[in-house]
């Protein structure tokens, strides 16, 4: 075990899997000599060469589309979108080509698309988005979002080995802020939820950076000793229904927390699931905390006004506990 940052754990996962499987190669903008906008692939070109750490033309549809082509002839491409926002330019290739290929033709598309996502540092409307729900809505794509260094590595390796297109959301605000013990070597983390902190009076269901916001907002000291569970979804497709419903049964009160815009977000799906299958276990309304349906603004006071923060989550929990 070594203590790594979230970003180092992603690099570690990529490096280990490239060493383990020569079919794995990386594609992206400025990932080679420069090492990537966030330095996830820093130094990779020296170990693996420019063909396996490929600086591509500035063309997101091209990155995804050519990855699909390489995958169907036996490669395991890992694509980096420089920022998750730019995946909008590769949307058609993901949704119409990659996602539907196996259903239509029985042809697997083992690609992984890394999306540095999320806000919190004045990235503005085009460098702060959380686009996971776009892809949850498209059949045939898996969507995962780690919150810890250990899961960042394990989910990435699992995603690269998965025979399906996997959208891997890595939260930029966790890159250097979050550190943790990470096992050495290659290992896979299942596409399932995990209990980040056990509790029995209320559960906050979150993923990605919001897991840390939830943990920070719900310590017993802040909520009059209340026992609050935090469920880290880790995977949005497949969604771990069993783990969600188990937490609902145990806690009976639920806050669903998204950093994404509220409408049709991952949390909306979780809330719908609980309404359908967990209604009898509830002792109060399902409460949602999310970013309002607004582009992520640039100026710090505006950005902080829309992104869910510790205070908003705490307040939502306090109100629901009192219900």
């Amino acid at each position: 075990m070594a203590e790594l940052t979230y970003l180092q754990a992603i690099s570690d996962g990529l490096r280990e899997e490239m060493r383990a499987d020569e079919r794995v190669f990386l594609m992206g903008e400025d990932i080679g000599t420069f090492g990537g906008a966030f330095k996830v692939t820093d130094g990779f070109i020296d170990e693996f060469g420019a063909t396996r750490v490929m600086d591509t033309p500035l063309a997101e549809s091209g990155i995804v589309g050519t990855a699909v082509g390489a995958a169907v002839v036996g490669m395991r491409p890992v694509c980096e979108m420089q920022f998750s926002d730019f995946v909008a330019c590769g949307f058609d290739q993901l949704v119409n080509v990659a996602g539907k290929m196996h259903y239509r033709q029985g042809l697997a598309v083992p690609i992984t698309v890394r999306l540095p996502s999320g806000g919190g540092f004045s990235g503005g409307p085009f460098h702060s988005q959380n686009p996971e729900a776009w892809f949850m809505h498209a059949p045939g794509l898996k969507v995962v979002a780690p919150s810890t260094p250990e899961d960042a590595k394990g989910l990435l390796i699992k995603g690269i080995r998965d025979p399906n297109p996997v959208i891997y959301l890595e939260h930029k605000n966790l890159y250097r802020r979050i550190r943790g013990e990470v096992p050495e070597g290659v290992y896979e983390t299942d596409f399932s939820a995990r209990v980040a902190r056990a509790g029995d009076e209320l559960v906050v269901i979150a993923y990605g950076a919001m897991v840390h916001t939830a943990l920070a907002a719900t310590t017993p000291e802040q909520l009059d000793g209340a026992s609050v569970e935090v469920l880290d979804l880790r995977s949005l497709v497949p969604l771990d229904e069993e783990a969600i419903l188990a937490s609902v049964r145990k806690c009976s009160k639920v806050v669903v927390l998204d950093e994404a815009n509220a409408t049709c977000a991952a949390g909306a799906q979780v809330a719908a699931l609980i309404a359908e299958k967990g209604f009898e276990d509830l002792d109060g309304p399902v409460v949602r905390v999310a970013t309002p349906d607004v582009p992520i603004p640039f100026s710090p006071p505006l950005e902080q006004a829309v992104l869910p923060g510790v205070d908003r989550v705490k307040e939502a929990c306090r109100d629901l506990l009192a219900y």
Partner: protein, 330 residues
């Protein structure tokens, strides 16, 4: 070419009888493009075929029975009823089926070629696309990418004069083959109604590709002799344009060419043989079951990844050429 035309004519009849759901799209008059080009590809090459390119499937060995079953949404069709029309590709034969966003497949073919180059394999990928596709961004991204990386990919622009009802004059302001030079690749305009010209151009492009000479843009000039789909009466096409192209029917041209050879060529016997094959395939396809509704949710995700297989390559002239190319690379 006869099989493609015969299968599509049969399918159009089945459509009018209500046996083909949805709509029906054919490549009447364009048979020479996919026939000639596909004959010039090796078994281990990979192809993205579009909706006017049925011959690509036939040449690679996809059975007429499965094609007709596909059109009729049967369980034995290539997509087992998951997709319709010519939206299919037999993965066992190295074909990736199209999506309706047509130039998307140009990037998929480019990516296959990229993998071949990464692995140092003497193989090529080929994709068809139409005049309308040249207006989409993926056309640009694919041509640029392939040229920058000098990839072994062949882009066959099937210029059939109309994208649905939109004539080429509203699609581009340059001779489209000029774009090859602008992107930095070889380009050639070919008579798309001449299968032998298509074969020669594709063969040369493939040889260049596997020798490391990069991509080629082939503009196949042809004419869509039917509407965009079965419902389309083509009122936007001047009758004299159709009449002129009717004189240049690719099957008639090839029949005249073969009849002029000194070896005896019995066109009637060949037509009868093809028709008998299509009749038998139709019977079997009509007898095939519809898919069971319980299977509608199956196969959204894959349990394992099996790459594309090799197709049939009736012309086997590549063994020597490939060995030379590999020797040169080494």
């Amino acid at each position: 070419m006869l099989l493609m035309r015969g299968i599509e004519q049969r399918a159009m009849n089945l459509y009018r009888q209500g046996r083909v759901p949805g709509s029906f799209y054919d490549g009447y008059g364009q048979e020479a493009v996919s026939t000639g080009a596909t004959f010039a590809m090796a078994a281990e090459d990979r192809i993205c075929a579009l909706h006017r390119d049925l011959a690509a499937h036939v040449v690679r060995g996809t059975e007429p029975e499965r094609i007709l079953a596909q059109y009729m949404g049967r369980a034995t069709g290539i997509t087992r009823g998951r997709d319709g029309n010519v939206h299919f590709g037999d993965k066992e034969r190295g074909l990736v089926g199209m999506v309706s966003m047509l130039p998307d497949m140009m990037l998929v073919a480019t990516g296959m070629a990229m993998a071949f180059k990464l692995r140092g394999e003497a193989r090529a990928a080929l994709t068809f696309f139409g005049d309308g596709s040249t207006s989409r961004g993926d056309f640009h991204e694919a041509l640029n990418w392939a040229a920058v990386q000098r990839l072994p990919v062949i882009f066959v622009l099937e210029n059939n004069q109309y994208a649905y009802s939109t004539p080429t004059a509203l699609q581009f302001a340059v001779d489209p083959v000029e774009r090859a030079r602008a992107y930095g690749m070889a380009g050639e305009t070919v008579d798309g109604n001449d299968p032998e010209a298509m074969f020669e151009a594709t063969r040369a492009a493939r040889e260049r590709a596997v020798a490391g000479g990069g991509p080629t843009l082939i503009e196949a000039v042809t004419m869509r002799m039917h509407g965009h789909a079965a419902h389309d009466d083509m009122r936007y096409v001047p009758p004299e344009q159709l009449a002129a192209w009717r004189e240049r029917d690719p099957i008639d041209l090839q029949e005249r060419r073969l009849s002029a050879l000194t070896e005896p060529f019995d066109a009637a016997a060949l037509r009868a043989e093809v028709q008998a094959e299509i009749d038998a395939a139709t019977e079997r396809a009509l007898a095939a079951p519809m898919p069971s509704p319980e299977t509608a949710l199956e196969g959204i995700f894959a349990d394992e990844a099996v790459p594309l297989g090799d197709g049939r390559a009736p012309w086997s002239g590549f063994a020597a050429a490939d060995a030379t190319a590999l020797a040169q690379e080494a």
